[in-house]
Amino acid sequence: MKGALQIEPRNRHSYYLMLRLKLWWNAWKEFGSKLVRHPTALFGAVVIMIFILMAIFAPYLAPYGPDEGTLDNRLLAPAWMEGGTSAHIFGGDELGRDLLSRIIYGIRISLLVGFVTVGISVTLGILFGVIAGYYRGWFDNIVSRFGDLLLAFPFLIFAIGMMAATGPGFGNLVFALTFKGWVEFFRLVRGEMLSEKTKEYVEAAKITGQRNFAIMVSEVLPNIIHSVIVLATLRMGFMIIMEASLSYLGLGIQDQAAWGSMIKAGKDYMMNAWWISTFPGLFLLTLVLAINMLGEGLRDILDPRLRTDQ
Amino acid sequence: MLEIENLSMYYDTAKKPVKAIQNVSLKLDQGEILGLVGESGCGKSAMLLTIMRLIPYPGKIKYGQIKLDGENILTKPGREMRRLRGQKISMIFQDPMTTLNPVFKVGEQVRESLRIHEMVASNSSIPFLDGARKRKEMEMVLKLMQEVGIPSEESRYHEFPHQYSGGMQQRALIALALSCRPDLLLADEPTTALDVTIQAQIMALLKQINQERGTGIILVTHDLALAAEFCHRIAVMYAGEIVEMGKTQDVIENPQHPYTDGLLHSIPKITTQKQKLLPIMGTVPDLADLPEGCSFYPRCSQAHDKCLCAVDIVELLEGHQVRCAIYQ
């Protein structure tokens, strides 16, 4: 290998670091320019950013506290309807709390559930998937069979069962959703590992004397992370809907302003206060729609193999 | 039988039109085999699809006529055109593995062709429930399969395409193409996807069909040697135009166009020992951005000023036409 790269030994390390940083930066730049040119993905990303900002600055944006209210404002109509006031744009809920404020605070729950459940699922999925896919053997057997077993339950039914068993609450909810949520990531990572393992670049890394685990982390993982990101985004919308569904059934989060619980509360008043269910649902739909749009866009950008059309 | 006059077909893309076929005129007599030879992307496959009037969107026929037995088929309404397809004009495709529909039995796919062209008349009042008709059609299919050399056709009839080998699939496709006794067979590189030994068998089969039934064949191929062996006449295409056309012997032994000459020199011959191969430099030009004058001019070894003007096709000897500035 003489003459290919003439770098002084002590400079070599920093040279490679610079090279890596440069490549990394270029990859991000390319990703950014592709995202901007993909209207669906861009729209999704912008809407999600707005939602995240609203969640962070909820105390400043919301005109009232989430639990603040007087019975005078009970079932108060939205501002543009007869009887509404501009002080409560979306009107009041069944306990006289400001609906808009509760919706804004509700973003926190939905986003938090989405990020935490998907985050844990991805971590577990990658961890188990990499080990199972690379080493196979008894570990792979046990985890795969357990995953198959979990998949025999429809997701919502499983989550309802778990929530019924453990009781409502944020921690229990996250537990219930991730208990089954990791399986899909596990399957994805494991499958990709199995196919990537046989490819030339892994062989090349082996020949240059890298150890197995080093190969997995430094060579294979970057090649499968794109598929994981795409799946994670799409699953996040799903998890948010799951949380709302559980809250709607009274099994999710009850002590805080969660959209699902608000929609449930509104259902009992649908004859004379349609807005209590409608507006939280509209926000929920918008958020999930934005996440799915971003997910589809990311799939086009990052992982063209997964494209379903054209 | 088939007469093509000044045919031009462009793909109307958003930017510039892609000139897939330009000003092509040719004739095919009853029972004749014409070889259409050229590099990939020169418009020879598009030619066949144009004759079938099956050019994919955004392809459009700009000028010219295609006459079959004196009738211009380009003006025919869709229903009449569909009646011609598969019955008067049939086509064989390049890749038999992807051309048969994977979910239907091979025999049934051949039978479908008989059915839509009503090769067996029905006496029943409910034609699609006519068992006797179906049996007769099946017999015809079996006979066809036997003719094209598919062994144990009785059981093969009920098999699916993936159970066939590539050569057998192409035989089945030939049986399908022949089912309605067409006058004209369009073969689009019928042997490219097959093994060499199978290639020879398939070509022999096509030759036999031509001789026994008098079916006219247009054979599209990039293999000049194959065309030389098989065809009565050869037309050499370059960038959507015919640059040389004539009897096989004339074209092969006495090529007049520099491109034909180049093609002949880039084929290794077994007979002459130690012959230097002379590849044609460069690649086929972008059909959306053709050079002025002769399209071959940028790659031509004998290029000169006159090549930049428009070049017409001229008849040098009887039936030997060339499109080159040298002969203008």
Binding site: P154 | L100, S113
Partner: protein, 336 residues
């Protein structure tokens, strides 16, 4: 040969069902909350003896593994135990509610396929047309739509505001109908009871739309994308070259191939449908298995929850089995 393979699949399903049963059982027992307390809740003061008797009646005084043994051996005999709250065999309760759920699920599936198939096909054939864009936008909305909210909005618009459909239930209150199959739509046709038929169809419509919306959205997308893939294939050109008209090319030669991936997706959707069924039945007060399960969970009716969840899992496993078998019929390359 096919029979042996199917039998093999069925045998593989048995350990999965056993695993499901054990998981369900453990879940319900490891949870806080005493079912006897809940049962006693309404009846005011109860003596120690009465409570003991109840515990004994339902084997709650035995150790867990004994209870599990009872449960599993009972299940093997088709006996799902007795409901705590209704004092009725669980199997009977499930049997009574099953027709309502099947009626709704079938209506939703049929509705979804009837809408999704033509839309998916036309969207593919006329790719990038206005119809394609509108349909794909709509299906994207359908995928992102929380179905309980869709149900509420549909009730708000069509039941509360426009009064075109009833708010909840399966049939108008007090409507007379002779029940034979338990499928109200079929029962009313069988007995020629026109008003009951109209009423039951009207009751069925909104829940079926709500339940079928997501399925329709996904199936339309899958059919479109697989049709786009298939329409590019050589065999479609061959079909045209044979002289077939465009309708036959699309519907016979292309669609038949596009159905292969579609069937797989429909199979996966059955699981979504089962989960959605719980929600939709709750929203519309539909007296089916889903609402039964939700009620049972809240009243800690262990045997009933176990029974219903087992039925759900069984349905899911059977549905996947059916899809696998169906797959072998439409894809000749796969022989199970």
């Amino acid at each position: 040969m096919r029979f042996v393979k199917i039998l093999e699949r069925v045998l593989i399903a048995i350990p999965i069902m056993l695993g499901v049963a054990i998981i369900v059982f453990m879940f319900m027992r490891l949870t806080p909350g005493d079912p006897v307390d809940l049962m006693m809740g309404d009846s005011g003061s109860v003596t120690q003896e009465e409570e003991e008797a109840l515990r004994e009646e339902f084997n709650l005084d035995k150790p867990l593994y004994v209870q599990m043994g009872y449960f599993l051996s009972g299940m093997a005999r088709g006996d799902l135990g007795n409901s705590f709250t209704r004092r009725q065999p669980v199997a009977d309760i499930i049997w009574q509610t099953l027709p309502a759920t099947i009626e709704l699920a079938l209506a939703a599936t049929v509705l979804a396929l009837l809408i999704a198939m033509p839309i998916g096909i036309i969207s593919a054939v006329r790719q990038y047309s206005v119809l394609d864009r509108v349909a794909m936008g709509g299906s994207f909305l359908g995928i992102s739509m929380p179905n309980f909210w869709l149900g509420i909005v549909l009730i708000l618009i069509f039941a509360v505001k426009l009064k075109m459909f009833p708010v909840a239930g399966r049939i108008d209150y007090g409507m007379e109908l002779h029940y034979t199959t338990g499928f109200y739509v079929i029962d009313s046709i069988l007995t020629g009871n026109w008003p009951a038929f109209v009423s039951s169809v009207k009751h069925l419509f909104l829940p079926a739309v709500t339940l079928g919306a997501a399925m329709a959205a996904i199936v339309a997308r899958v059919i479109r994308s697989s049709m786009l893939e298939v329409l590019r294939q050589d065999y479609v050109i061959l079909a045209r070259a044979k002289g077939l008209n465009e309708f036959r090319v699309v519907v016979k030669h292309a669609l038949r191939n596009a159905l292969i991936p579609t069937v797989t997706v429909v199979g996966i959707q059955i699981g979504v449908l089962l989960g959605g069924n719980m929600i939709v039945e709750t929203v519309f007060g539909w007296p089916g298995l889903g609402r039964l399960a939700v009620d049972a969970i809240f009243s800690r009716d262990y045997p009933l929850v176990q029974g219903v969840v087992m039925i759900y899992a069984l349905t899911y496993v059977i549905a996947n089995l059916v899809v696998d078998v169906l797959y072998t019929y439409i894809n000749p390359k796969i022989s199970l």
